[in-house]
Every structure is written in structure tokens, then in C-alpha cells.
Symmetry: C2
DNA sequence: CTCTAAACAGAAATTATTTCTATTTGAGGG
DNA sequence: CCCTCAAATAGAAATAATTTCTGTTTAGAG
């Protein structure tokens, strides 16, 4: 699983550094979305020296690669979740469990083939669904 | 137009204050989405004394009423746009012109009637479409 | 008109994020 | 395996959006 994401990183021309591997692992094991601060906390336990600017930069880089996806929460922090569609070019969005924070991919999309809406030429769109996952429902 | 939004405010049990009327007017005349800072700039020209915390609070209040809608941009500021569906309970999303910033309502939505996706019980969802409006296309 | 909760100003605090500079390191090429 | 260098990094400091706090004002119900 880690190796797959590393390949995505390489493919996009980014270096595979210990921090980046560790950050991906943090997301794999956390099974939830995390903020820069939360990632930094966990990263600090694995590395003696660890700057927060690197965390911000790496999260942004990983999001650029599609390894992570940005998640909209109701605080003023940026949240990121692991995206299992990384590397694929498949159009998709995400659903997030409001209880446990789990992130999954969904393919439902009203707009995938629409080029114009209300006379606007569509440039991009994003959708986020918040829900409660099956485990949390049980 | 202003009066319509004022009614929405009243209906929700909020007071109709000079600042709030002025803020709504700013959005009506700007015909684009604005940040707290931009609203404050314009408000300061109409009122001698004008605190930025009030601007933040009022934008949040107006968004709560549905008079304004929050718009996701690629900076780290909160953006708000006037919503002409305020007061209606009609399900809708927004399309924003990436050139002039105009905001319009759209009804296209893949999820309106879906209660479950991937086994998740859907709590809420939001979608934003970025595009180029007809005027900017011409 | 009076009263009260809501709205307000202004200053100060908070905090997420970015910038800057010097140092280190991954990985391609010899 | 070593050299090289652009990319990645640490750490400190700066930035800037937003919130909190306190005391004052005001909208609107009665």
C-alpha cells in the first residue's frame, strides 16, 4: 500500500524522502483525515528534528500528486485524507464519516459530462459528501 | 431586492441593523463574491466607526440565514457571495465565474435524493462549480 | 418611552500558515 | 561507489486571517 503511493510520487517527479514516506504511513494507519498539526505531532515521534513548514509543504505536495485529498471541515484548518484513487485519472469525489473521519471515494457525480451550466463554461467542480459510515451506524 | 433579504433576516429572528443592510447592499452592488476584508473596506466608507469583528460576525450570521453563501477559493480567506435563493428551501448549489467572480445558483445535483452512498448514511453534501460566465466568455 | 438582549467598536490575543536563510539529502550520471 | 545539484529540510521569524474580550450602544418588543 505504501509502495503504491511511493510510485505515484515518483511518477509525478517528486523525491521519495523519509518524511514523505512517514507522512503517507501516518495516513494509512490513522484511517482518518488529519490536519497539518496532527501530522506534525505524529511525525515528531518518529524524527528528532522535524519542522512544521515541511509538513505543510509535503501535505501540499502529496495533495498535488493526488495521494492526499483536501477535506473541508468546519474549523479553519486544512484537512487532508488519503485517496485510494491516487494515480488513476478516474473522476471521483469523497465521502467523509462525520463520526470517525474515515474517507472513501465515490463516483456519483452530476456534472462529469456537463460542459455548460446556466451558460457558464464549466472549468472545474468539487463535491464533498459528509455521512456516517457503516461501522459508526452499527 | 434589499428588502427581500431584510425579510429573510427578520424571519430568522435576527435584528435588522444599519451594518447588516449596508453589507447586503455591498453584495448587491458588487455582483461578485467578497472577503471579510473587502467588505470591511467598503463598509468603512459608509460608517465612521466600524469594527472588523462585526464584519466577521455579520457575514457568518448572513450565511447562517442563507442570504450569503460561503465560497471556496484557493487562498486562505473566507469568501461570501449573495444567494438569490435565500429564504427558499430549495436544494441548490452555486456556480462561480473564475474571471469576474459572479455567483449564480444551480439546481443540478446528483445526490439530492440519495440517502446512502457506499453504505454511508448521507448527512449533508456541498458542491461548488467554477466556470466562466457568458459575459466573460464573449 | 422603557427595557433588554443582541449588536457593536476597538484593542488585544490567538493561531494557522508562509517566508526566509542556511543546511542537508535523494537520486541521476559518471 | 562517489559527485553533483536541485529539491527538500529545519528553525526562527513574520504574516495575516480570525476570534476573544470588555465595555458601550441600539433595535425592537411591550
Amino acid at each position: 500500500m505504501l509502495n503504491y503511493y511511493i510510485e505515484v510520487l515518483k511518477d509525478k517527479g517528486f523525491k521519495v524522502t523519509p518524511r514523505r514516506k512517514a507522512i503517507i504511513n501516518i495516513f494509512i494507519t490513522s484511517n482518518s483525515h488529519l490536519t497539518a498539526d496532527e501530522v506534525w505531532d505524529r511525525l515528531s515521534k518518529k524524527f528528532d528534528r522535524c519542522g512544521i513548514p515541511s509538513v505543510y509543504r509535503n501535505l501540499e505536495t502529496l495533495a498535488e500528486c493526488g495521494v492526499l485529498t483536501k477535506i473541508q471541515q468546519f474549523d479553519r484548518k486544512k484537512h487532508y485524507g488519503l485517496c485510494s484513487f491516487a494515480g488513476h485519472d478516474e473522476h471521483h469525489h469523497h465521502i467523509i464519516c462525520v463520526k470517525c473521519g474515515k474517507v472513501e471515494e465515490i463516483k456519483e457525480c452530476a456534472l462529469i459530462q456537463k460542459r455548460y451550466i446556466n451558460g457558464y463554461k464549466v472549468v472545474r467542480h468539487f463535491m464533498q459528501v459528509d455521512g456516517i459510515c457503516d461501522k459508526c451506524l452499527a
